[in-house]
Symmetry: C2
Subunit: 250 residues, 2 copies
């Protein structure tokens, strides 16, 4: 039977070495609602107390339910679409996905149950493992510093899986006239300080019990407005004008 | 002056506690090409040997160049668009972005120099910090298990920044007829074993020096084809037919 679409992907760790990393991977999974972990020949056997120490609470239950297999072939039970995460494997003819496009394919109606497969910490997946997968995932990282660890790789793949299940987000926009020079944080802080000082002198922050919150909201307002450098000068000018000593009229 | 678009965002860690986490954040940054780190009042002072131990090599140079400030206001020097990463802060009126939409806005022409601001490990950013930012980033995580640590939050924001700088990816597709039941990994492995056995008997894997690679490529081929369960039976049937003992014709 083809798996129903509500089934989340399986995470398969092939020959993981450190128990701590298995625990950290379980935590990374659960951050994005992934709960089915399969282990292929974990180096230090199973269960592993160091994994448990790293993943307490709800993530500990992911470990409790983890299944252990002798081979990757066996661990692919019920999986019809498997992605091998690797920076190598280019010598094998195989479609190469990013985490984002792999997650999109895994969500596709024709995919069946999907698995994301991760190799041992030090060496990664071997070609013999990669050859058993439907496709490859490569995380686009800085080629001069590709240092993702096992749990980070699981985190990014889980994140992309979780992302695509959210309703599309209406893009919020910051309001600022085009072509204007944006004020920087220091200029905004000076403006906020200027107003706060003058308003304090004017007795604005009253009653005392609400003053802290009034200050906070005002600080927030200045930061939120996406002011230009010219705007900041306008606000300073208005304040100076409003607070200058009144001339004595005849 | 508005920053040119090639400038990468700044990462600001506010009151970070553990040196190890500062080092891990530097590594996470560099994975996606982010190199400018600013620290606001790090708990254990600066430089911090534990940070250095965690981030050797190229990531160590990110730490070497890190600048330290007394306040978040000061650390926002030259920054005109700042995102406070927090799961809270909803009591402040402020646009709320995901890492993906924040990265898109940060890349926008009118944005100027952007900064992503992260709070202390335990408590996260305070409202006084959030009030100083242009907007909020909230990472969409499993509400029942939101356990991202500091370096993981930096990793996801850096990842999204890096993502958007890649050329658009042509979506590779797996070929499988619609409505068919996908074969699972165990069925594919049996099929591969069946062929490998019969081909071995037939002397196919020759010469010996190339045999291992021929086996690997064949294994890869079976996994790549996105076979249906019916396809698998067809391949088994062909093989059986091809390898049955010849009848002695009269």
């Amino acid at each position: 039977m083809r798996a129903p679409m509500s089934q989340s992907p399986v995470i398969i760790l092939v020959r993981p070495q450190m128990g701590e990393n298995i625990g950290a991977a379980a935590r990374a999974m659960l951050n994005f609602g992934l709960t089915e972990l399969r282990l292929v020949a974990p180096r230090d056997g199973w269960p592993n107390p160091k994994a448990v120490a790293m993943a307490s609470g709800a993530a500990g239950r992911v470990l409790d339910r983890a299944r252990v297999f002798d081979t990757l072939d066996a661990a692919l039970e019920g999986v019809s679409l498997s992605f091998a995460t690797t920076a190598r494997g280019r010598e094998l003819t195989k479609p190469v996905y990013t985490p984002a496009s792999a997650a999109a394919v895994a969500r596709g109606a024709e995919a069946g149950r999907a698995a994301f497969v991760f190799g041992p910490e030090r060496a990664g997946l071997e070609n013999d493992d990669i050859a058993r997968a439907s496709a490859i995932i490569t995380v686009p990282v800085n080629p001069e510093f590709p240092s993702l660890n096992l749990a980070q790789a699981v985190l990014l793949v889980g994140y992309e899986w979780g992302q695509g299940r959210l309703p599309p987000e209406p893009a919020p926009t910051l309001r600022r006239p085009p072509g204007e020079i944006a004020a920087d944080g220091v200029e905004i802080a000076h403006l906020a300080d200027h107003y706060e000082q003058k308003l304090t002198e004017a007795g604005y922050f009253f009653p005392e019990t609400k003053a802290a919150n009034m200050r906070l909201n005002l600080r927030n307002l200045w930061s939120r407005m996406a002011l230009t450098r010219a705007d900041v000068q306008v606000f300073h000018g208005m304040l100076r004008q409003l607070t200058r000593r009144p001339r004595v009229d005849p």
